[in-house]
């Protein structure tokens, strides 16, 4: 896959590089992580990919409940999947 200029961010503290224009959901998947833990404790990842289902929620720079499929990666973003 051709990589236009890359963006580096952290997912649960580990650095991930993604192509410019990639969403946070893609970065989380590339880091090999699910996005969140469901209310009864099971891991969840993106379902709809279009901002509807809220399964891809993560914490970005301390802000809870961000839909990672709708947000583009920015350099230095701190993404957490512990919610």
């Amino acid at each position: 896959m051709p990589m236009p200029s890359a963006v580096t961010l952290t997912v649960n503290g580990a650095e991930v590089s993604v192509p410019q224009g990639a969403t946070v959901a893609a970065a989380v998947a590339m880091a090999g992580q699910p996005c969140r833990v469901s209310v009864s404790g099971s891991p969840r990842g993106p379902l709809c990919g279009m901002g509807i289902c809220f399964e891809c929620r993560v914490r970005i720079d301390g802000r809870s409940h961000c839909r990672s499929c709708q947000i583009l990666c920015e350099p230095g973003m701190d993404v957490k999947t512990d919610e």
């Binding site: 893609a26 891991p43 969840r44």
Partner: protein, 444 residues
């Protein structure tokens, strides 16, 4: 941002998919002051969603992209509309801002979402919508070398399978729940729609080597922490296939939350429009999937008509009626061909979750006799998706009808909600040319 708080958009378009883009472009060509707003980070909607690394070219998309680029339209991406405080004023929220959008005429082009149906294992990571996985790949998820089972129903399955293969995925099988008889009838009827034929032909060629089976659907997904295999029902027997992803959607559900909030008349799950795409509310038009699931071509024509009508160019709009009539039949053909079979109602086990936000099982939901009762007593539908996923599920499983729509139609920050409902709104009011148009960067 713009300080001009007094003059509203002549035409405001909500939704930047094909319907919305076509509408905005046509209205702008008539000299109108036009704005377009979309929740996504870029325009293009579901089908023309910008690809991060694109090595294929959709001619149609490219054509519309350049037409759109030439028109002068104020583009607001990454903003979702969550409230209308009074006729003529919508409120949209971005990740850090709140915007009041004033309009004279409004075009609703809010598109559709996939229908999901619950089966054991459907909540495992890497079980996604068919369109959902496609969108993820377009937004940077590497798929080359991965094995993806595609399943569900609708023309979307083939399109997604073709796209994923082109991106280097292995597609062991595409499972379509509809029976061959219905598919053949559908294929036969395609003769009436020339462009569609070309499309299916192209898909066939690209799909060489991938088994496409009818009468087949997923019954369970298995895996530790993420999907590892899926069991499908195929011609009456079960088969388990290892995979990295399951891309699974059961056709589409129209996004009618915003039209409902505004009070547009809804019939049978779709927004009721007249020949100029005008809803039951004067000056409010609707185009694309919310008026009936018909695919990109009818969405485009409807968008053009709505844009022209919204700009007052009625006779130009009329010239497109014939084209639309032909394409609309296609919507009916789709609904008939991909009608859901009743076996799909019994896929969920008692423990299977129906509501993924609140983790409510089938057994708990089933005890109730209405959506409201299930919701109040089990929390089904009370999470942040506001019932957008489990609502259509319970509609199919139990024939429940959804509740009325209330603001906010998307979860929004408390301070945004407060500001949007206050008498004297303070936040930025955006109108003409307040925002630089963004590069679109589209492509399949």
């Amino acid at each position: 941002m713009n300080k001009d708080c007094t003059s509203p958009f002549d035409v405001l378009v909500v939704g930047g998919g094909p319907a919305g883009m076509a509408a905005a472009m046509r209205a702008a060509e008539c000299g109108m002051n036009v704005g377009i707003v979309d929740d996504n980070a870029r325009l293009g909607g579901q089908i023309w969603r910008a690809a991060v690394s694109s090595d294929s070219h959709d001619k149609e998309a490219a054509k519309w992209q350049s037409l759109f680029g030439a028109a002068s339209v104020t583009t607001l991406c990454g903003k979702r509309v969550f409230h209308q405080s009074e006729p003529g004023v919508l409120w949209a929220e971005g990740s850090d801002d709140l915007i009041a959008l004033r309009y004279k005429n409004l075009i609703l082009a809010t598109g559709a979402r996939e229908r999901f149906l619950p089966f054991p294992g459907w909540t495992l990571p890497n079980v996604m919508g068919a369109g959902g996985l496609q969108a993820m790949v377009k937004s940077g998820l590497p798929i080359a070398g991965k094995s993806v089972v595609v399943a569900g129903t609708g023309p979307l399955l083939l399109a997604v399978a073709a796209y994923l293969r082109q991106q280097g995925a292995a597609i062991p099988i595409v499972c379509e729940q509809a029976p061959w008889s219905a598919l053949l009838r559908f294929a036969g009827s395609l003769v009436k729609w020339p462009a569609k034929i070309a499309q299916t032909f192209r898909l066939k060629k690209e799909m060489a080597g991938t088994p496409f089976v009818a009468n087949s659907w997923p019954v369970a997904a298995q895996g530790q922490g993420a999907i590892e295999s899926v069991t499908i029902s195929r011609g009456g027997s079960l088969e388990t296939i290892p995979c990295d992803y399951l891309a699974c959607g059961f056709h589409l559900v129209a996004n009618i939350e915003l039209p409902s909030l505004l009070g547009c008349e809804i019939r049978g799950g779709y927004v009721n429009v007249d020949e100029f795409q005008q809803t039951s509310l004067p000056g409010i038009f609707c185009a694309g999937e919310p008026t009936g699931i018909g695919g990109v071509e009818v969405s485009l024509v409807e968008g053009e008509i709505a844009g022209l009508a919204g700009a007052g160019a009625k006779s130009q709009a009329q010239r497109l009626f014939k084209k639309r009539a032909k394409l609309r039949n296609f919507a009916g053909a789709l609904d008939r061909a991909f009608a859901l079979r009743s076996e799909l109602r019994s896929l969920a086990s008692p423990q299977t979750l129906i509501c993924r936000c609140e983790d409510v099982s089938y057994a708990r939901v089933e005890e109730h006799t209405s959506w409201r009762s299930a919701k109040l007593h089990t929390r089904c539908g009370m999470g942040p998706c506001q019932g957008r996923i489990c609502g259509p599920v319970t509609e199919f499983l139990f024939q429940w009808s959804p509740e009325s729509v209330r603001p906010p139609i998307f979860p929004s920050r408390l301070k945004s909600l407060g500001a949007a409902t206050a008498k004297a709104p303070e936040p930025v009011v955006v109108t003409r040319s307040s925002v630089k148009p963004r590069p679109l960067g589209m492509g399949m």
